[in-house]
Symmetry: C2
Subunit: 750 residues, 2 copies
């Protein structure tokens, strides 16, 4: 295993550092271990399709095997047994889903059992938009790239019998069911059921359609089916009970839970076959159109070049200079991760499925999907607003389409299903934050109405369970919910703060007051005895006995979701001053905040405390704690290696934290346009701004950063001294230049 | 149960005998008990679709429940628990297959588990092209009719909530897998996998496509899916593990093994909904076109009227007068049963699936399917040649299409799959028989080539396993096969006889000699010690010990398929004289033949001995044994009641036996154009001949038949005395009149 990694480093290094385009600094293996749940498969920017090596099935891959444990990625770097390449995949999520439409090249006799045809692999290599390896068992070289909606693979077969399998039985998803048809010796079409994300809402399972085209006509083709194993008397009559069957030359649909199709060749000489798989969530016809429109007759190499060009254009929106090579790899890989999700849902022709019922609708703009908003509202969308405001605008428009279609803003939307994963009402926070940053080309009144609806509607409200108690008591209680009464209260507070801020901007004064008042109701849950949040019971009494540590490591508990009191108490960034006052002032606040880190309660791997490192900035004179903490976290958790993410990337949220932190700014409080400032990692960061949204073409952040110079001595903005450790978004985008003077001075002891 | 039957008799009688059109004499319940495996569902003549009540699922129906035993029919008259109406069904077969695309109307809340939504039923009524009942649980009146490719149902709902379920999980077939999509509030489309007839050849399973249209738009609709039940750790995370899920308003495909779709209504007043289900074996598009072209905007009543008119036109090709009402019911129901299979495979536009691979082909004529030739070569096709020669011609052309597509003539073809059920090489027998009767409008040279191919090709010959031994030794041995060495030898003999006869007609003299010689090789298997056939071992010795009774009641045995020595010894109708000589002359022959009946070895329920009753005609002076035996068998086994068939109808073969026998003629030796003569049941039988094939417009058979006049005193043909108890086909069709003088005289004692 170690060998493989070393080999990869050598290859990667050789290739990578001969050039210095941003695209060349991306290491797609970062996050493929340590539950980062990214995968190294090629994907176009915000693509619907990726081509991920699938190595999580089969006993060889235990303990990181998909059926033996909760595993939410099609690829794990430590694993060794590959059973195909999946064509729709999620990156950086915490629940198993997608990982279907598996293609696998093999040689010799046809074998359709993935446990038998699977292979170890070597010479693994990944770049932006590119992946390759060699399948040891078959001596087949595999290369893959992708357009937005098409996965493109090139298989280099040795001479002799060869097969390309499209396996629709195997998948990471918990759903089953597929249909497949060989259309001709060069085309296969089909449907695969997916859904039940997080083992939830099975009634919203949905189909993904595909068309696969092959550059060489198959000499033979067919389909296979592994039927249900019968029991009882019928089983006695079935010689074939439960066995896979091969249906040679079959030209009609085969439907069922465990099916596939194959193309078969006999090569006189070593031969390359290119395979393109177009995907759609609307129809097979659209999948075919996607394939044709996006790849036409273009070759693998041409498609790869185009994919990398698009990636490079977007990654180049931020140029960094200085720092180590690993810093650049870490930075651009993180930026790359923020440009995967949300991703494109609509087809080339604009069609996409309506929420839940999946009627076909059409959009002019990009309809984005995979809104893991409990994660991304904290920083990813702020990064998009700054660097890719056109994309962020379309994401807001997509949220409003979701509202139009379903009556509700998204919480955790996935391919036109609302998975209702996690807690809170995060969409409105993103909307307000975006609008306040000056991205206003969407129907803000509709958006505002949607936000107020989820904030106020007591009955049948899927976004804010427990709202009645929240409104009446100011908080959810241990009776309202058995999971996260305090967390939900805090989330609702933040959402209400966002509504208030947008209301203020829109001139809705009474709403501003009403929601501002609602936004600080968490205060009743601060137990001043311990200066930590604490659940309250229905009668207003504290939950007792109470252990604030309970809830770490995703342990289920009454007060907090995926965390404990330590990890949540400071998650009121919209009311830091209020919290500070409650805690008894600046010193108790700083002490308690420092305790989180000193007592090992800080969790870099999850979102609630993700802004904590920046909160020292709120106390004049304590800012260097931020600088040191952020630098240490970057060094500890974000590395140029497969385990180089702290845990689930959470559809780019962890990566966005790194991108901001390495640039020296962080959007510390969602729906508040202030960035907290810390020491940048690079000597020069150039952010190319979008003139359609911002008055300046670029922002240049300079510093004398080095491994020693980690602390801020002074900052100038537009050439003038900047005395605050915060900077507002408008000031930032108009600044043209921000210059950091850094020094080595250590953090003074308290 | 008895009550229900009595009720039906009353209803049927009242309706039926007020008119006297042939169509009114058909009782579709005949054969729905006693394993007749017919069903009372409406079907157009040779229709692709029927609408059969489906009452073979659920513990209420044990012991005649589909999963608790071998059961090959969607409907059993004794059963009480109905779970829908299946839209593709086989009639009179011995293996479970089809019985899918189940529709079920219900009221109240949506329930998709057939064990819960199933209902008892009453007021059951069936006529040609029509079925109705009342679902007791819901007080819903159901009526059904059909065109060739469309099932049409009318549901009379009470006021209140109502549902129409399309269940694609449940079915008689052993196959699973389906896809379904609600296209609009008035249309559902889908695919269902079927196949593995007789639990064999699962690799040739195939899809049946459908489109369902509803006369009233649904107020709500959706799909359901019952997923696989997971085991292991994943099961712990699935609150919904194994549970059916309802997907409301869902507008895309759902695929899987146990799925369905529903339309939901709320009726203010009692309301009728008409549902049309178009079917195709090619595509959903074709299913839709079939539906539109065949039913257009026509109402249920209009469609029913047209179906009955077509049936009546064809049933009227034979008019019978005299006899009891039950005689007429038995006759026309039997004739009706012979016009169900073979049935139409091609779509309205002529498209149909190619054998095995299922590529789409197109035909000008009707492409027939369901060729249960081991059964039907004995009499059904002879009946078609006589009365419906245009249909028989198309059946031969269909066999040649099958040959073109697969390289082999059919054995037991089913919806473009060759099930290879039963033994022998029967297609050529039918081809020769048809040609010899003067139906010559097909490519006889191609057909002849196909026949010789299966007779001569030693390797990879799917039609004649054991051919090498057959050619070398003259017979298959107990080493050649463990099942039916003697039977197969006899079947190959008959096929070779058919080739010889056709060769003779085509002027192929050497082939005539060669195959004539081959056709009597069974003679080596007659053990003269017992005057019965007996298996031989590889070394030419007799199988010992040997019990000729072994094999009755479908018991597996070395020598015979579905029978024993008694039931097979006389199945050499092409060489009766030869057999007689071997046995020692006329008397030993008659004695042994009579023994079959006297010792209880005759099996009316299966084909091998089906011609035995007519073999007495070969011995001058013994013909009245034929007359008496046939009359007794008709009385014993063919009755106007659900158990009024001797067993499986075998796609009309048993019924064809009855039709011929009741007319007083029987095609005793396949590929020989002689009919054996017996006493007719009716005073007058008028067969309307097809002028495109025959020189006369009709043949009128008269007699003084009565319950007493059962024996032939004399016969005149075209007004002249006919001294033989056989009549050749050409003489028959040119006769214009055949007049029987019958008398009461008892059979003389031997």
């Amino acid at each position: 295993m170690q060998y493989k990694f070393i080999l990869w480093v050598v290859l990667f290094s050789t290739q990578l550092f001969s050039q210095d385009k941003p695209v060349d600094y991306v290491n797609p293996f970062i996050g493929t271990s340590n539950y980062g749940t990214t995968n190294p498969g090629p994907i176009a920017m915000r693509g619907m399709v990726s081509v991920s090596p699938f190595n999580v099935a089969g006993p060889e891959n235990v303990p990181l095997e998909k059926d033996s444990r909760w595993l939410s990625t099609p690829y794990v770097h430590e694993n060794t047994f590959l059973t195909g390449f999946s064509h729709v995949n999620l990156s950086g999520v915490g629940c198993p889903e997608l990982g279907v439409i598996l293609a696998m090249p093999t040689t010799g006799d046809l074998e359709v059992d993935h446990l038998k045809y699977g292979s170890s692999y070597s010479q693994e290599k990944a770049k932006v938009g590119y992946y390759s390896n060699t399948l040891d068992k078959y001596a087949i070289g595999v290369e893959a790239t992708a357009t937005t909606r098409v996965g493109v693979s090139k298989y280099s077969f040795p001479e002799g019998d060869a097969n390309i399998l499209i396996n629709l039985g195997l998948g990471l998803t918990n759903e089953q069911g597929a249909s497949v048809k060989v259309v001709s010796p060069t085309e296969i079409e089909g449907v695969r059921s997916v859904g039940s994300f997080c083992y939830y809402k099975p009634e919203e399972a949905y189909p993904v359609y595909f068309v696969a085209r092959f550059s060489k006509p198959a000499a033979a083709f067919g389909v296979w089916k592994k039927p249900t194993t019968y029991k009882g008397v019928e089983a006695e009559w079935m010689g074939y009970n439960g066995q896979s069957r091969i249906m040679k030359g079959y030209a009609k649909e085969v439907v069922g839970d465990s099916i596939g199709a194959y193309m078969r060749y006999n090569f006189k000489v070593p031969t390359e076959v290119e395979m393109k798989i177009g995907v759609s969530y609307v129809s097979i016809e659209n999948a075919r159109e996607n394939l044709e429109k996006e790849t036409s007759t273009r070759s693998f190499d041409r498609i790869l070049e185009e994919a990398q060009n698009i990636w490079n254009t977007h990654l180049s929106k931020i140029e960094v200079e200085g720092g180590t090579k690993d810093d650049k790899v870490n930075f651009y890989t993180a930026l790359y991760h923020t440009l995967i999700h949300p991703n494109t849902l609509n087809d080339y022709n604009g069609e996409y499925p309506k929420m839940k019922t999946r009627e076909t609708l059409k959009t002019e703009d990009t309809r984005y999907t995979v809104f893991s908003l409990w994660d991304t509202y904290r920083n990813l969308h702020q990064l998009m607003s700054l660097v890719y405001p056109d994309q962020q605008s379309d994401m807001i428009k997509s949220m409003l389409q979701i509202y139009d279609e379903s009556g509700w803003l998204p919480k955790w939307e996935l391919n036109a299903t609302e998975t209702t994963t996690m807690v809170g009402d995060p969409a409105g926070i993103v909307i307000a934050d975006t609008y306040l940053r000056g991205i206003t080309d969407f129907d803000v009144e509709k958006a505002y109405g949607a936000m107020v609806k989820s904030a106020d509607q007591l009955e049948d409200n899927p976004l804010r369970p427990g709202l009645k108690d929240y409104l009446e008591k100011g908080y959810l209680t241990t009776k309202t919910t058995n999971s996260g009464s305090v967390s939900s209260t805090q989330e609702y507070n933040i959402s209400d703060y966002a509504i208030a801020q947008l209301a203020k901007t829109l001139g809705k004064k009474s709403d501003y007051k009403r929601f501002s008042k609602r936004s600080i109701s968490y205060r009743d849950l601060l137990d001043k005895e311990i200066n930590l949040l604490r659940p309250k019971n229905d009668d207003g009494s504290w939950l007792s006995p109470y252990n604030p540590e309970t809830g770490a490591n995703f342990e289920m508990n009454l007060g907090f979701i995926e965390g404990n009191a330590w990890q949540y108490t400071f998650m009121v960034t919209h009311d830091v001053k209020g919290l500070m006052k409650l805690m008894g002032g600046e010193k108790p606040f700083v002490d308690r905040l420092q305790d989180v880190f000193d007592k090992g309660q800080f969790d870099m791997a999850n979102e609630p405390d993700i802004a904590y490192p920046y909160l020292f900035n709120y106390v004049p004179g304590e800012e260097r704690r931020t600088q040191e903490t952020v630098a240490n976290l970057l060094n500890s958790y974000f590395n140029n290696s497969p385990d180089g993410l702290p845990g689930n990337d959470d559809t780019g949220t962890m990566s966005a934290w790194a991108v901001f932190s390495m640039m020296g700014i962080y959007p510390v409080s969602p729906a508040n346009t202030n960035y907290a400032i810390t020491a940048p990692k690079f000597k020069k960061v150039t952010i190319h701004l979008d003139p359609n949204y911002y008055g300046q073409e670029k922002l240049v952040i300079t510093s004398n950063a080095s491994s020693e110079n980690r602390f801020i001595k002074g900052v100038t903005v537009s050439g003038k001294p900047h005395l605050s450790y915060f900077i507002d978004h408008q000031e930032l985008v108009n600044a043209k230049t921000i210059d950091f003077l850094l020094e080595q001075k250590e953090l003074e002891s308290k």
